[in-house]
Amino acid sequence: MLQLPEIYAENLHRWLPELLYYSLTTLKIAAVSFFIAVVVGLLFALLRLSHNRLIRGFAVGFIEVARGLPIVVVLYIVYFVPPQLFPGLNWSWFTDFTGAVVGLGLHGAAILAEVFRSGIEALHKGQREAAISLGMTPAQSMAYIILPQATRIILPPVANYAIGLLKDTSLCSLIGVNELMNDAKSIAFADYQPMAVFVLVAVIYFAMSFPLSMAVRYMEGRLAVSR
């Protein structure tokens, strides 16, 4: 029954180029979502640390809601709800790719906001006070003293998030994005070869995420040494 070598010998030359092509889409979704998640996450981490209760409340609200929902639900809401809310507008620019990166990006922002916040708060308050007492503004103290130190603390969890994100891009097939998983499904069922195709897809996902895992190990090792 398990004739995988023969099946691959026969089909790999057709499947592999196509799957690799759609892997690029997967990487593109991951990269753009990651960028959105970092920028928006940092913004929410700073809002979360604000002295203003309203601002802080807004940030906490966003973070808790976005973190508390399954990613699929976020993707469905982001992709399907705005056009229904504002049917009069032109939504042709709002492609499934856009919906995917906005959905994954916002969900990731909530996760990273908490990572950034705990990184910033892990620093002794003496660091901020020393900066302030030298005449730095709170923004300067954040930029030159707090964030450079927090970066070292948060790098491993951020890389872990990136690994998870790469895998979560496969959920975007559910809103119709043509990425690796979606393409794999169509090949698998068109050629009646689900096992061979999905094993291949697993290998491709692993090949993409494994270098990131190694990078995390390396960083964690270095941080442990420099303590």
Partner: protein
Amino acid sequence: MGQMDPLLRIVDLHKRFGELEVLAGVSLDVKRGEKVSIIGPSGSGKTTLLRCINYLEKPTGGHIYIDGTLIGEKQVGGKFVHLSDRELAKERREIGFVFQRFNLFPHLTALGNVTIAPIKVLGLSREEAEARGRQMLEKVGLGHKVNEYPERLSGGQQQRVAIARVLAMQPKLMLFDEATSALDPELIGEVLRVMRQLADEGRTMVIVTHEIQFSGEVSDRVVFMDHGKIVEQGPPKSVLFNPQQPRTREFLKHLQER
């Protein structure tokens, strides 16, 4: 404001943390070039007083003036209003603060620690700031450690870098909060030597300390605080060696017994 006005004027300062009144009306003038030591039992409000002077802590009452300028507030139509972060930052440049636990920036070298504020706050070029920084590190005896990171320095060396970091801002007033209390006994001397040198240069210094002998030799005036109030003050020979208040006597006796 003339030369005769005090450099630092503290007027009826109050600070509460919730129900706890930590400063219960402190008034103190410090002249230009004067060295004032503050002594007193733990919890008497010494650290809080220093932190209020540069507004690391917002006073709940009273006012602070440096060179006649209100610190942390301004008067608008006869009312006192708090300054914005930016305005406050500008005023803090004039006030150097040396912390008990050094608070060096661990991601920067000794020279980086000393130059970051002159570059980012005063707008000096890197060359100017490094020239000044090296000079200050040499002054505290660490000319050979400019490229070391804090974790590779002893406590005494770290505190001397922290002092150089403050000196590089050329402050009008320097505040020392138990600068030697976190140090092993054998490292205290090197920090006190630097502080004595600064005192001899005629700088204005407010020094919270438990080093009674040092305080006797260096200060023009000693202030004894207890329960958020100044109980007694005067020249060291009277406050330290002939105190009038029973609480001062008791505190000094207590210190000697340790």
